[in-house]
């Protein structure tokens, strides 16, 4: 066990934790933030995407020790009242079916728009190709990314 401090959504959380535990399980089981989802455990589906110092990262495959002191933003911390432009766009397009992968889709989109405020379809393909949705909501996701880009401008 090791003393690790996570800075999640602006709050410092001191954890006495197995340093090898992936960030995903630390967030879900130890911090109690379950919005970040487990889908594959090997960084292949994107359901567990969080922002680390603004970069989208798969939280399922990297040990929590790597994130000591780093600024982490999860879906719960994206906005105070659920009105981030990406969240608004997702509502406008009514994207989800089961909704399980959407936290990862949204976090990946936030990171994309941060770097590229007017992404093309090709840019969206590159950024979101690692986020699997079995319900097949990709077309609505694409539409919502474009709308979010307009809203954020």
């Amino acid at each position: 066990m090791a003393a690790i401090t996570l800075n999640v959504n602006g709050k410092k959380r001191k954890l006495d934790i197995d340093p090898e535990m992936p960030l995903l399980w630390a967030l879900r089981d130890s911090v109690g933030l379950t919005g970040t989802k487990y889908g594959c455990g090997i960084g292949q589906c994107g359901a567990c995407t969080v922002l680390v110092e603004g970069e989208p990262m798969r939280s399922c495959a990297l040990p929590v020790s790597v994130f000591d002191g780093k600024k982490i933003v999860t879906i719960e911390g994206l906005s105070e009242s659920g009105d981030h432009p990406v969240q608004q766009a997702w509502q406008e397009v009514d994207v989800p079916q089961c909704g399980y992968c959407q936290a990862g889709q949204i976090m990946t989109t936030v990171a994309l728009l941060d770097k590229n405020p007017s992404p093309s379809d090709a840019d969206i393909d590159v950024a979101l190709a690692g986020n699997i949705c079995r319900c097949g909501t990709y077309n609505r996701i694409r539409k919502a990314v474009h709308i979010a880009a307009q809203k954020a401008r």
């Binding site: 879900r28 594959c40 690692g130 694409r142």
Partner: protein, 706 residues
């Protein structure tokens, strides 16, 4: 303003009456409590679907499990429509599992709206009439002079909110005859209404089974047989138990549960288990499965599922026989939320919470296992991260109950993706031979389908079109037992039969030099004018759906460099027709767009309906193109998304959806758009390249196309 305190535990009385026809339980209760803003003392339950709270809000309970098919929005919309409730202020809650109050609390067979349409309407309309009666009494006017709108009764220059009327309304006699709206009077149904859980989903607050956390809960994972037909032999759990945070290791059935302080510790301990597995039944492999099924396709007799006329004689007498064989592999469900369940088994009772498409089955099975009366087992439904048929089983709930009993603790059992993907319950692998007997006039005289599948039961859908239009028809099949476990997978059997059938009909039409749509339309006309045997489908609805997609896709206009393919399919009481457009890029066919027309009767939630159709088509094409499970030495060779290819956003394509607008009672859309999708694309690939695809996944065939 008074604080709207109320107590639902202090019920002075409960009245239960059966409403005419619907069998609804109608009850209400009251208690002495502080006055509220609405004048209500406590929340009034008008029936199992409608609750009016002291703050004036209306809560509608959605009876069925939500798996992504959208019923948690659509079912309450139906109640709200007939109630004339102000949707913007309606709260929606998941109803409890209760077979006495609700019917068919199942997410399966695309059947929720179809089965509950009448009940939901009646639930809303009954309360609306009681509101009208209460207002008429209060204002001393006739009910006929009043109307309802946005959770209000209006008329005679007066108006009152449902909340204001609620305490008088519950005392009204339950109407013996409920007046339902005409579809033309619908204000809410047919509109695009956003998923009621969106906000929770977008902020990470939506609770799926995987997110359940209860006081004292421990975390369990399970070591499962790595291959089909295997059982544990020797188990050494010393290293696992030595890991701090591990509470116990419990062998049960053919598995070993590890219970720990959190998921990660449980996973680490599972890795530390030293288990030797032995083969109880011989290990199988894909090559062997292939041979079994290929041999069965030539084996007579098979079990006949439908026989019209005399197919054998017809085939022996015609000049031309067109024949094609098709094959599909095992497929995992790959719901994005891996299986999981919470169970807290105590002396004499058990509490279960989790994602289940059939919560009642989980309840019954768990009660059976624990030797408890069914009433002693509760199952709370959570939102599900997909199901696709996998969650129709109850194995994960049973497992959680067994582990909780062994560990004497509340536990949440978590499956890893590998457990889920490599563990079976697959879409059965199948092969089919389709044959058409063509007489010398070029008429489609005989139709013969022989299917063979592994643990599939009936591999056919014997009443599918063109049954009814063909004089001599034989639909037969073989079932072969395998130790690879199978189960229902989104649109069971239909999911591949539609591909084989719709590709084959395209091939026959091409051979007869007929337009693929005209060819089917003519057969449908035959079925209408001179039906052979039973007709499962409505000819006019089928034709209208085909005609609609023909029009919107511009089927009859030649588009330069664009190749089109058609398919049409009836399943789960809904009609779907598609035109796929394909272009050639570097001489390879690429999907450009899919047009879809659907007749699902009255459209309840347009946004939800469209989402199901587009998703079904993309999901269908993903699996048809890439999905595959290989079995080698009894083990699945695919166990996670690094080796199993799912369709991605960059492989998605535009889908344009059109509905046949009518006033027929609604049917479901969770499944019907998936089955015909792959055939429309394969037929377009043929139009583009002259090569047909007979097998799924397409990945192998596509290498040779163009």
């Amino acid at each position: 303003m008074n604080n709207p305190e109320f107590s639902i535990s202090r019920r002075s009385f409960i009245k239960v009456t059966a409403a005419a026809g619907g069998g609804l339980l109608l009850g209400f209760s009251s208690a002495n409590a502080a006055a509220s803003i609405s004048g209500l003392n406590e929340a009034l339950s008008f029936n199992p679907f409608i609750l009016i709270s002291p703050d004036g809000s209306i809560t509608i309970y959605s009876p069925n499990p939500e798996v992504g098919q959208g019923v948690k929005t659509a079912m309450p919309m139906i109640v709200a429509e007939e109630l004339d409730a102000d949707w913007s202020k309606v709260k929606v809650e998941q109803a409890p599992l209760d077979g006495k109050k609700y019917q068919r609390q199942v997410a399966g067979g695309s059947g929720s709206l179809k089965a509950s349409w009448a009940t939901l309407r009646q639930a809303g309309a009954t309360v609306r009439m009681m509101m009208l009666a209460a207002a008429a009494q209060k204002w001393q006017v006739s009910v006929d002079s009043l109307r309802t709108e946005n959770s209000q009764v209006l008329g005679n220059n007066q108006k009152a909110s449902y909340a204001e009327l609620a305490s008088e309304a519950v005392k009204q006699a339950v109407p013996t005859k409920v007046i339902l709206k005409k579809p033309s009077e619908f204000r809410l149904l047919g509109k695009s209404i956003a998923n009621v859980d969106n906000k929770d989903i977008f902020t990470g607050k939506a609770i799926y089974g995987i997110d359940i956390k209860k006081p004292g809960m421990k975390y369990a994972v399970v070591a499962r047989p790595p291959g089909f037909g295997q059982i544990p032999d020797k188990i050494n759990d010393a290293a696992a138990k030595a890991i701090p945070g591990v509470f116990g290791v419990y062998p049960f059935d053919d598995k070993i549960a590890v219970v720990a302080v959190d998921t990660w510790t449980a996973l680490k301990a599972r890795k530390a288990l030293d288990v030797s597995w032995i083969q109880k039944t011989p290990p199988e492999n894909t090559a062997q499965h292939d041979k079994w099924l290929t041999d069965l396709l030539t084996q007579k007799p098979a079990k006949a599922f439908r026989a019209d006329g005399d197919a054998e004689t017809a085939f022996s007498q015609v000049d031309k026989i067109i024949e094609a064989s098709f094959s599909c592999p095992f497929l995992p469900h790959n719901a994005m939320e891996p299986m999981n369940f919470f169970a807290d088994v105590k002396e004499g009772s058990a509490e279960l919470i989790g994602p289940s498409q059939t919560p009642q089955r989980s309840q019954t099975k768990v009660a059976e296992i624990l030797g408890l009366p069914v009433e002693a087992v509760t199952v709370q439904m959570t939102r599900m991260g997909g199901g696709f048929g996998r969650r129709l089983s109850s194995d994960f709930a049973e497992e959680a109950a067994k582990i909780s009993r062994l560990a004497k603790s509340p536990v949440k059992v978590q499956w890893t993706r590998e457990d889920d993907m490599a563990g079976g319950v697959y879409r059965p692998a199948c092969k089919y031979t389709y044959r058409a007997a063509i007489d010398k006039n070029g008429d489609f005289l005989g139709f013969h389908v022989r299917g063979a599948g592994l643990n599939v039961g009936n591999p056919t859908r014997e009443n599918n079109f063109p049954a009814g239009a063909i004089q001599h028809l034989l639909i037969e099949g073989h079932n072969k037992e395998s130790n690879v476990t199978t189960g229902p997978w989104r649109a069971p059997v239909h999911n591949f039969v539609a591909f084989a059938e719709q590709c084959f009909l395209d091939e026959v039409a091409f051979d007869l030099k007929k337009d693929p749509i005209d060819f089917r339309m003519n057969l449908l006309d035959k079925a209408a004018s001179n039906p052979v045997g039973k007709l499962d489908y409505d000819v006019n609805r089928f034709k209208k759906t085909m005609q609609l997609v023909r029009t919107v896709s511009g089927w009859d206009k030649k588009k330069e460099g664009v190749f089109m393919g058609f398919s049409a399919y009836f399943s789960f009481s809904s009609y779907v027709a598609m035109v796929a457009e394909v272009v050639l890029e570097n001489n390879k066919p690429v999907i450009r767009k899919v047009y879809c027309a659907a007749d699902c009767g009255i459209i309840v939630n347009r946004s939800g309906a469209e989402n199901q159709i587009v998703g079904g088509i993309i999901d269908g094409l993903g699996h048809a193109q890439f999905g595959n499970i290989d079995i080698k030495d009894g083990k699945s060779q695919q166990s996670n998304f690094d080796t199993y290819r799912m369709i991605k956003i960059n492989e998605s394509f535009p889908v344009e959806v059109h509905f046949v607008e009518n006033e027929i009672d609604p049917t479901g859309l969770g499944e019907p758009a998936l089955p015909p999708a792959a055939a429309a694309v394969a037929n377009a690939f043929f139009a583009a390249t002259g090569n047909r695809i007979y097998n799924q996944p397409f990945t192998e065939a596509k290498k040779n196309l163009g």
